[in-house]
């Protein structure tokens, strides 16, 4: 297989913000075979104005490994030319990015589906936990997992 047709895959866990145009450029640099790119960014909501920040705890080591396992499944299921998954941890303010998934393929369908699959699996399998910090200065509770996320992941 020529080097240019091998999927380029990036998995990162980091506290700092990510640069979406730069991450997209990394997938497309020097290639002319990509026909579609889906970029999904998950942002921190202010929950009707009551949230000051989200604190994201993670399991170092397992977070990278588990996202890599999910990415391997996506690369095995869809004809992707590139796949990026970046998840932040630490304190994240409303309006800031939390997670980024980029899927590149020759045609749109594979890229749409792979990005959707990645997000469903990230939510239910990647070891991250959100805790709310409220505007009144108090530390709110841990965010509860949603049953609909399990239902969404079961679609695949």
């Amino acid at each position: 297989m020529p080097a240019s047709s091998r999927p380029y895959s990036t998995i990162r866990i980091q506290s700092e913000p990510f640069d979406i145009p730069a991450e997209t450029a990394r997938l497309t640099a020097g290639r002319t075979d990509i026909g579609g790119i889906i970029t999904f960014a998950g942002l921190c909501r202010d929950e009707g104005g009551r949230l000051k920040a989200l604190e994201l705890e993670h399991y170092p080591g397992m977070a990278e490994e588990e996202i890599a396992r999910v990415a391997e499944s996506a690369l095995a299921r869809w004809p992707l030319m590139g796949l990026t998954a970046i998840h932040r941890h630490g304190l994240i303010k409303p309006g800031e990015d939390i997670v980024l998934v980029i899927a590149a393929s020759a045609h749109r369908r594979a890229a749409f589906e792979a990005a959707d699959f990645m997000m469903d699996y990230l939510k239910t399998r990647a070891p991250f936990w959100k805790r709310e910090h409220l505007l009144d200065g108090s530390t709110g509770g841990w965010v509860e997992a949603k049953a609909e996320d399990d239902v969404a992941a079961a679609r695949w």
């Binding site: 994201l56 399991y59 397992m62 588990e66 939510k123 399998r125 990647a126 509860e144 997992a145």
Partner: protein, 84 residues
């Protein structure tokens, strides 16, 4: 010795993020381990009261409650995940 690690509200209830323990040899499955945790004092009883909701990872891989724990060097306990 086995390293036990805790995250999110399991960590807060247990009162520590990790510990080294000698697991009793009679513990065979993840479910046995969860039941044993409930017997280790008030904090553990509180943390593991709803054992069915606790997720477990053996050497950084998700494990079902009927999985065998033999050979695991690091066992993690945490609530259902809320990333993404």
């Amino acid at each position: 010795m086995t390293k036990l690690v805790y995250f999110a509200w399991v960590r807060e209830r247990v009162g520590k993020s990790d510990e080294m323990v000698d697991l009793p040899p009679r513990l065979v499955t993840v479910a046995d381990l969860l039941a044993w945790q409930q017997t280790r004092g008030e904090e553990y009883e509180h943390a593991f009261a709803e054992a069915s909701v606790i997720r477990v990872a053996l050497d950084k891989r998700h494990a079902a409650h009927d999985a065998l724990i033999a050979g695991a060097g690091e066992i993690a306990f945490f609530p259902p995940m809320t990333g993404g």
